[in-house]
Symmetry: D2
Subunit: 131 residues, 4 copies
Amino acid sequence: MREYYTSIRVRYAETDRMGYVYYGNYATYFEVARVEMLRAAGITYRSLEDSGILLPVMSYAVRFFRPAHYDDELVIKTVIPDLPGARLEFEYETHRGAVLLNSANTVLVFTDKESGKPVRCPDHVLAALSD
Amino acid sequence: MREYYTSIRVRYAETDRMGYVYYGNYATYFEVARVEMLRAAGITYRSLEDSGILLPVMSYAVRFFRPAHYDDELVIKTVIPDLPGARLEFEYETHRGAVLLNSANTVLVFTDKESGKPVRCPDHVLAALSD
Amino acid sequence: MREYYTSIRVRYAETDRMGYVYYGNYATYFEVARVEMLRAAGITYRSLEDSGILLPVMSYAVRFFRPAHYDDELVIKTVIPDLPGARLEFEYETHRGAVLLNSANTVLVFTDKESGKPVRCPDHVLAALSD
Amino acid sequence: MREYYTSIRVRYAETDRMGYVYYGNYATYFEVARVEMLRAAGITYRSLEDSGILLPVMSYAVRFFRPAHYDDELVIKTVIPDLPGARLEFEYETHRGAVLLNSANTVLVFTDKESGKPVRCPDHVLAALSD
């Protein structure tokens, strides 16, 4: 369970005056993509948070090759390149049909809600991602 | 302190494919307008929340007469028509120069954070709004 | 084709500090709901716009009964109460399971892109909504 | 005119369930920062666009050190490290008082609206940024 595909339809609210998806909105698409990937692996991000583990984003980088437009149906390919330690990395590619629109990556950190300190990836998450 | 004017510059992120401010984004402008009005009256909404009083929105209505565009400098006139009991109402008008773009109102409810129940407007808020 | 149900999963980006869906974000959910309803009736909103007819929102009102939370799966019931003339009205109810969270309505106006003037509902739209 | 400071107050809409500014919303803050920097240099981004030159974002990267919270008053330091050719780069640092919250950079491309092709930075922009 290290690769996953998520479909997202572009909403009107997400477009801008250029007629493109506003560059800042891809961060939300990638959030949806990684959450759905985790869900497919049996991990509900909400439960993780409710159990006291936050996963804030530590870094995010994206390169844009072509814009997406209103009502486009996008497919985001998400890859977890390495099994997580304290950090969990995701790589993303946004496609519209055969066309690659952008590629991105995020690094998240398992963080104890109380102390705010990094912690190791919980065992059940590691197990789910190792399958 | 029952009438207040707030300036807001339209951000690119807030426009849509029509070139207008997306209709959903005015809710954020009105949030900024009421928070700044309260601040001018000596009430910090963050402190209120930190003291255990939430102010969720109970109803919101808006009528649009003309669109706003990217980079427009809008002025939002905010009025508190009545001294609050458990409810705090705000009325808004968005202007661009002499042109009225829309008018709106929201009703918020003073709510105890723990119980989730409505509570009466705290005395210091009432005092600040009575000046 | 006068009633329709759309599922929407709450995204992290859409929550706020209270842990609720930010009140302004429901406007986007209702946009998705009405666009999907039109699509199910055979009308692509993007095509409508590309053919020179805009559908800006003229009024929007919402009453909130209970909050939605992160990752909730919401169902929005959308109803078109009357066949459109120059105006197209939608009524919405947001449910989480059996619980009604809020109800809303929007009025949109068929508008000629060039002149900015209201126009009558195009025949093919009227036919699709009359089925 | 190669360094600029912009103040931004965090809006409620921009926070998330963790109580932090949602990681995707910094893209909007950086947009505001670069637009205000250009304005201070005598360049209105809206005019640029109206004259047929778009400036889409080609890449964006951000590293997060500490979160921002609701109502924080942030100062974004923006730097243009090099005079633009077809590309215009901005570097950003977000501070809350003396604390550095994150650092980022974006690369934008001067693009002809009609052809969609990259073009050289217009002379008046280059002149304004050379002062």
